[in-house]
Amino acid sequence: MSNWAAGAQSGNSRSANRSDAPAALLAAFISVVAIAYVMQHGILGGVGIAMAFTGFIAFGEMFRIQLPNERVAAPVASAFAVAYALVIQFGSSSQDYGVAQAVVVAAAGACIGAVSSALLGQFRQGAGPTLQVEEIVRRILTTFAVAAVFRPVAAFMLHRGYVVYGQAGQETQHGLLLALVMLVAAVLGTMADVILVGLARSTRQNAPLDRTLKDEFRESLPIGVPTTSSAVLMALAAPWMSWWALVIFAMPVLLSQFAFSRYARVVSTNESTIRALARVTELGGYTELQHADRVADLSRQVGLQLGLSSKQQLALERAALMHDIGQLSLAEAIPGGRPAPGSPFIPGGATILLELEQQHDLAKKGAAVIRDTKFLDDVADIVERQVDPYRPRGGSLDPTLPLASRIIKVANAYDDLVGGSLEADRRLQAVARLREGAGHEYDPAVVDVLARISQPRLS
């Protein structure tokens, strides 16, 4: 059993690595073809302009934002990369290059940016250089998608005389049509990016694809809107304003870069605050050291694999961190003991040692503390119901019981039984005990996922 499961586990992690490979190979292939093509035909539309865009992309790549839930974005880089795929006239110089050149510029910019930030990181922290290949792949494929949709259509329109860029002061014909085509191409490209990231995340975190994609779309929207619209505006205004278009229409995307990095910072401070404060129960001697951290970590992994959305995931983690807050109301900590004769000794603070009624009472008190914040009602609901059985014997499923509560119930019981122990036997016993309760006490789906995660890895 354990061998088989361990095999499946390592198989998973290997396939996670492999899943990124097709995308990377595709990007490499596209780049090589594009470079070969550009080498043969030369750079069109001015080397200076191409180099400037490369520089802006590289610059943007160096200022990535780390968003909650392991999301990374480089709005400035992606705005300039998409803009370069969309520009057909820059001042008086016509930009009649093809898909290949747009890809080469994006690839060069992404590589230069990634390498410089890796070097800078090494310089600053003395850590080994970490090159973010995934980001380069994203940039190349997104730009390719935008350019492949837009440039042939634009070339056709220009050729047939649908769009005419006039001399100074002269009006553009069919400017609106061109704008719409640009917008469609940019949106499609951004969507391709989202799908790419969603695919990678779903395999890496072992999460269901449909929910991951949906979540990825929802979470990418706020950063995708300014990026896409800035890119389109730069390309639209470039014929008249040339360099000024880049300066002026980069403002919205800089603004969102600023806003999002601030947001990410606040969220991360908030996370660390809750994580730290959840430890007051440890300080007070109520719970075992690191218990809350471990339950949160387990819950997070289970939640990801069950396809919770980013928002639910955030609430789940917070609830898991604070699930024992109710114990502060106890005059004395719960003493340690054995849940059944012959089973290993469990240190104090384990709620599974208590009568169900007492457990309910503590959950309620904890929820009351959290509800007092007035901002975390969803977290309070989860904490309040963390003790409720999945399906009471002879009863029926309660549709209002949050999945997050079911996850915490299982993760908490598991950690109460295993604690920080690394013994394989103890883990197997704990899982076996959870399996006994699956179906009435514990949610079988959650137990399954937890069993998979908790298997000791055999190398």
Binding site: A179, P222, I248, Y263, T269, V280, I370, D372, T373
Partner: protein
């Protein structure tokens, strides 16, 4: 209106009359806008018929953006700077349809203002009038210079001159607007006009640049592409607004979580109930007198809330023990700043607060704990917390004594200047009290306090009299940990 001073009344009258005159002037000139006019006043960049169409569109845009909530783009600690989307639209108006057109577009703002419930009619008239005057001045300046220097933003040769001119006219727009707002504020409140104006201008300097760039964006994309592109310009602003709302929400959630958890911790120990919150408030009062910057103030609030969290790790038996404490028990109490610092160690970006919590029981004379730092070696927050903590402790009931009055507490603080407390912090607290701060104190105030020298029952080491006794038990000075950096990383040794 009647209760306003005559200066304010005449100002409002002047603004309203000028605005009406400008509006009449604009109406008269608009249909007959000719090339000659264009050279003299600037009629925008379209043919007359086209100008009317564009104006109609701009009016619709004004109505829509004004009805939608204003967009908070810059978050500052004086509250978010509302970048009113109407301002960029007005800027785009004078670039597109010239002075007369922009005046009429600006006048349409008044229509939406009429719908606003919570604003007096006088204010509506005044605000709309100021808007009209500001637009006319800025536009007149723009076109005066543009016509003479042959600058044309819509031309293919968009230059630094064009951008600079737009920026300058935008500055004039905002400057004029601020002038009238400052004038009315100072005529009502009697404050200095120049100071008021400077304060307002400082607040709007950032949005000024954003506004002019936005106005230019709106005008350009409208001219070259059409209405659809205007939406592309405005969309990111709504997103930014959404993100800033999220940020505010997260911040509030963080503070609320902290407050709720501290409350839960305080239920352990009846006499400290509300202590953390009150120390936070007192610390903020001191910080306010010291004019700390807003980021530090936010951190100070955290430090105040969390300064005693380590007491949870001190056995309750020791905390509420009646009678004398032995050395071991004193040592247990003295560990609470260290334990507290352990709890907050993992929190990001709160270095000042962490130091404050760790050192809040240090004394200026070096007899405090955990490390016995002296004078300026003690971090700023620790010195603030020390005073706030002692002040709250003295004005609250303790099991071994009643609460002291504020005056008595201040006397005590005064008496321990430069031994226990930093003089500056004591002065800052007194300053806050003098400025009208009313601290929350216990309802039971006993005037005659029996000082026993060594407190007997349930000693509270925040209390100066008790703290003096504790200081006699000199802690072991850990000389290895002397600088605050290593201290904040070391935790419990």
């Amino acid at each position: 209106m009647r209760d306003l001073p005559w200066r304010a009344r005449s100002l409002i009258f002047f603004v309203a009359a000028t605005a009406v005159a400008l509006l009449v002037f604009a109406m008269k000139h608009l249909p007959a806008a000719t090339l000659a006019d264009s050279a003299r006043l600037g009629s925008g960049i379209f043919a007359p018929r086209e100008t009317l169409k564009v104006m109609g569109l701009l009016v619709v845009l004004v109505l829509v953006t004004k009805l939608a909530a204003s967009v908070a783009v810059f978050e500052s600690d004086r509250g978010p700077f509302g970048v009113d989307q109407v301002t960029p639209v007005l800027m785009a108006s004078y670039l597109l349809v010239g002075t007369s057109g922009a005046i009429i577009v600006a006048a349409s703002v008044f229509l939406v203002m009429l719908l606003e419930q919570d604003l007096a009619m006088v204010k509506k008239v005044f605000n709309a009038g100021v808007l009209i005057i500001s637009v006319s001045v800025a536009s007149a300046f723009y076109w005066f210079v543009a016509v003479r220097t042959h600058t044309d933003w819509a031309n293919s040769s968009f230059t630094l001159t064009a951008f600079g001119l737009i920026l300058a006219s935008s500055a004039i727009f905002v400057g004029t607007n601020c002038y009238f707002i400052a004038a009315i504020v100072s005529s009502v409140s009697g404050s200095s006009l120049l100071a008021t104006w400077r304060g307002i201008v400082r607040d709007v300097a950032g949005p000024l640049v954003v506004n002019s760039v936005l106005g230019l964006m709106l005008a350009t994309v409208y001219y070259h592409v059409g209405v659809i592109a205007m939406i592309l310009v405005l969309l990111p602003l709504y997103v930014a607004r959404w993100v800033f709302a999220q940020i505010a929400g997260e911040r509030a959630a963080q503070e609320a979580t902290l407050a709720a958890l501290i409350k839960a911790v305080e239920t352990k120990d009846w006499y400290t109930k509300g202590h953390s919150e009150r120390v936070a408030v007192a610390s903020l009062q001191i910080g306010g007198s010291l004019k700390l910057d807003p980021d530090l103030m936010r951190e100070l609030r955290f430090a105040g809330m969390l300064h005693d969290v380590g007491k949870l790790g001190v056995p309750t038996g020791v905390l509420i023990k009646p009678g004398r404490l032995d050395d071991a028990e004193f040592d247990a109490i003295k560990r609470h700043p260290v334990l507290g610092q352990e709890v907050v160690r993992g929190i990001e970006f709160l270095d000042e607060a962490k130091r404050g919590i760790y050192y809040h029981h240090e004394r200026i004379d070096g007899r405090g704990y955990p490390e016995g730092l002296k004078g300026d070696e003690i971090p700023l927050f620790a010195r603030i917390l020390g005073v706030a903590d002692a002040f709250d402790s003295m004005t609250q009931v303790r099991s071994y004594r009643g609460a002291r009055s504020v005056e008595a507490a201040l006397e005590e603080l005064d008496a321990h200047r430069n031994t226990q407390f930093d003089t500056r912090m004591v002065d800052a607290l007194m300053g806050a009290l003098a400025a009208g701060w009313e601290p929350e104190t216990s309802p039971v105030v006993v005037t005659a306090v029996v000082e026993t020298g060594v407190p007997a029952l349930g000693v509270d080491d925040d209390d100066p009299s008790a703290a003096a006794a504790l200081a006699a038990h000199r802690p072991l000075r850990v000389d290895a940990i002397s600088d605050s950096a290593s201290a904040s990383g070391s935790g419990i040794a």
